[in-house]
Subunit: 130 residues, 4 copies
């Protein structure tokens, strides 16, 4: 998501969303996108993590899109979705980690889940403080 | 989702998910699917509810798919996603209701959101009791 | 998708889409939705059909949504997407069929793919004739 | 999509997909992802391009995921989906371009659609030559 698009999104915000930290949100959207991609690839390995990876890919895509459509969000709904996204990423990471020695894809997927959780938490903390 | 498919899904459940009430889950998947469809149509009207409708359609689809892939879920993650889905449906309903007099689509979308919230709550209550 | 919603969608159509046969389109949306669900369940089995099932679930969902948003479609684009959806369903069916003896889910998934292909073809034929 | 992930994906390819040009495919996945994001933001403006933008966002996401799951694709299905994606991007661009003077988001969305079409065409040409 380039800077000009982010600036335009900022201008369209209202309803309590306009206080959001745009750099944290940008980082969170990027982390969600990266996690969707890693989970999508990981799910093709047909190991026992696959269903969790598919769930995580869908949740991360939904999370990313919601951040791009804040006109249809409120701070409370955003936090509830961040909680769900973090919980899903945690589960996916827990299922991929045991395979990380034998599968490079699982190792990368677990890392992408961790990065997404961290970015969601940073954004949630920032919203709580606002 | 037909009964034979539901029976097969039940047989594949484990990890604490096998205690789930399959009739409540089937009703919840159907309500999510109906809500995704109503929200998708409603979003094309380009009224101020549209971004919430798009967010709700995506969340409902993600919720429905997660119920079909319980091998990659845990009861705790399921409940967190149900919370997010209910919060999103509530917001969408709140944005569509004021238009319900002038738009039949908004009236139907708000009703689908309410039905989805109720089905998610019934499933959540059942999981808490288990 | 209930009849009242279909009627409202019909009223919103323009740009060459208003000649579409609404009963064929309704049948096609329902077949896409059923196929997305069957493929989603089938993909959790972690057999070699799983990646095709995931691709098919996504394509069917995208196809269904596009039929609900004809304001953002043209007859030519609709036909191109129907072709892609039929090709994807055919491939998924071809991968699930060899498992249909040992997996009831694969048998149901292949049947849902066939029904979706047929519904897409009926709609495409009708558009060609219009 | 980082280089290590791409290398692993390459190793998992078969069925005629292993001859694909991985750098063109990486560029195409990135263009699809960027187009999904631009279309998602553009759809929130509630201008008459919004339904096309939503359709385009969904098609681009489905296209991107299919490239990440080539185990469930064949060259013929891939080309059919690329055709559908290019057709959808063209329509979305045609609807956003007339707004490009008054909306910076529409201008960026049209540019992302054009870039996605070009990347899909490059990949399709390369597959035809193989």
């Amino acid at each position: 998501m380039d800077a000009m698009m982010m600036g335009t999104m900022k201008d369209m915000m209202s309803g309590g969303m306009e206080t959001m930290d745009m750099s944290l949100m940008q980082a969170c959207m990027d982390a969600c996108s990266a996690c969707e991609q890693a989970c999508t690839v990981c799910s093709t390995q047909m190991m026992d993590c696959a269903p969790a990876c598919m769930n995580c890919a869908d949740m991360c895509n939904t999370m990313m899109r919601a951040m791009m459509r804040t006109q249809g969000m409120s701070p409370a709904v955003m936090m509830s979705m961040l909680d769900a996204c973090m919980a899903m990423c945690q589960l996916c990471m827990d299922m991929c980690m045991p395979h990380s020695n034998k599968s490079e894809v699982c190792r990368m997927c677990a890392a992408a889940c961790k990065a997404c959780m961290d970015a969601c938490m940073a954004m949630r903390d920032s919203m709580m403080a606002a």
